[in-house]
Amino acid sequence: MIEANHLSRTYQRGDGTPVTALRDVTFTIAAGEFVVIRGASGSGKSSLLNILGCLDTPSSGRYRLAGEDVSVLPDDERSHVRSRRIGFVFQSFNLLPRATAVENVELPALYTGAAPDRARARKLLERVGLAERAEHFATELSGGEQQRVAIARALMNDPPVLLADEPTGNLDSAAGESVMQLFTSLHEGGRTIVLVTHDEQVASFADREILIRDGVVASDTVRRERSPA
């Protein structure tokens, strides 16, 4: 499903000096895997996830998603890849504050050309346990609730891959626990999940852990055999 081949990413600092955030990163993630990418702050996790999520392109190397080299696609086609094949979950939730929960969940459907499907958005909110919060504004929800709305949003276009960047980073442990439980059950439902964290506790939910240190893959460990999809 996901093939990273010798990915590197070098940024240009404000003063022009280059910063290499990723160096020769190579791994393959099969469909249905639940993988955690773990590393210290600044180790390059977000840089990697942005490339996997088609928000960014590698400075060198190749990235294939479902067999297609998406790193060479033009900007608007990468938008379409994000729209149909990837669901994003962020550390800071990133809900639209002036929209209700159900409107936030519906958002990705705006960019598919399909007819609006509020019923599906409601069903997804039910799936994450927030059916009765559908008409609440994002700002009226707790952090844990906001993150579950964000997960429902990521599922709106039914993408095969979910990418999450420190999804529990802004949550207390109880809320974090319930969010991780949700990811686990989504994984059991067959979705490929790649989750970035610096937290070993969180990492323990995944089947496999890729450890990143200073932009390099330091280890790639399978914790438990893939559960049957």
Binding site: S46, N50, G53, L55, D56, D75, D76, S79, H80, R82, S83, R84, F88, F90, Q91, S92, N94, L95, L96, R98, A99, L107, P108, L110, Y111, T112, G113, P116, R153, M156, N157, G169, N170
Partner: protein, 407 residues
Amino acid sequence: MSAQRVVASAWRSLARSKARSFFMMLGVIVGIAALTALASVGEATRQETLRQFKRMLGTFDTLTIRPGAGSTRGMPSLGSVEPSLKFPDGPAIAAGVPGVKRVALVQQAFDLDVSYRDATTVPLVLGVSPNWADVRGESVASGAHLSEEDDRSLARVTVIGADVARVLFQGEDPLGKVIRIADVPFQVKGVMASRGAGPGGASLDNMLVVPVSTASKRLFNRDYLTTLVVQLNDANASDRVAEDVRALLRERHRIIPPAQDDFTVGSPRATLAQISKVGTTLSKVVTGVAVIATLIGGAVIMSLMLIGVSERRREIGVRRAVGATRADVMRQFLVEATLISALGGAIGILIGAGGATVGALLQKLPPAYMWSMIGGAVALSVAVGIVFGLYPAWKAANVDPIEALRS
């Protein structure tokens, strides 16, 4: 995204920040309201001017022939005009030019004292042929018009205007009374219905008429005319008839070009065309001012949109992350700007038209709306939204989603 959903989503976004949306609209509202109001007031004034001229000129299916070459300014008077238009010219035109219905003859002067007992006034005195009232569409409030018999018999009878009746008779019934025109006694045969105000608001009722034969022989002692009023069968044929009339008069007056004509043929339509043109010039100036106001409104939209784009970077990042293309984002902001501006334009038109209506009613004029201008205002406000929304929308489309989403 379908157009309908783009608009619906832009509408939601605007509705959620009402204060900002209002301030964005304000400039366009003011500009478009000014445009609509000024244009409509201008139009009401122009229409009123036209109505005043129409009242002065009487009907539109006429040509006016005056002695002398070129356009004479002001009112011709017997004492000051060339003696070139003669009585027989009238019947000759009526008989000799196809398309002419009838010709009224006029001798006019406005320096004669008119008195009744102790009261004196100096109205416009017209000697007119009996068909004059019909040609001009004048009616009497009381008594009767001048008749063929009055003219044939050189009767000393007069039909007086409403102002003259008021000044000389002060409520007394004028019918049958004898007034003196330049010391010649005339019996009042009728009182004309009020003709209202002419251009500039001056009264058209300070006048009286006497039979033109009587005027010629017993009052002025002149055998020439100040005006021939030619009534046409078809108002649309005025250009051709005017040309035929000129040819006939040249022949009768033995004028061989390049010698100058000793008469001038004017048509109310030409005069009105002139007035309309003046109105157009005025409205151009007004339009310019209001367009500038609207453009300033556009600049306000642009700067507030730019602030909005930087405040909504995160929203843009989210939309891009869930699949919006640059074009989607661009379209969203462009539609928001256009919607704001068009909405401002619509409110501006309502306010402007309302203001113009109040203004017209205060001036006691029937309100008029310049629809072409209002249509232009709608187009302008939409165009302003698009043009001034382009740069902010482009900015929005180029927000880096990674940057915008970084926590």
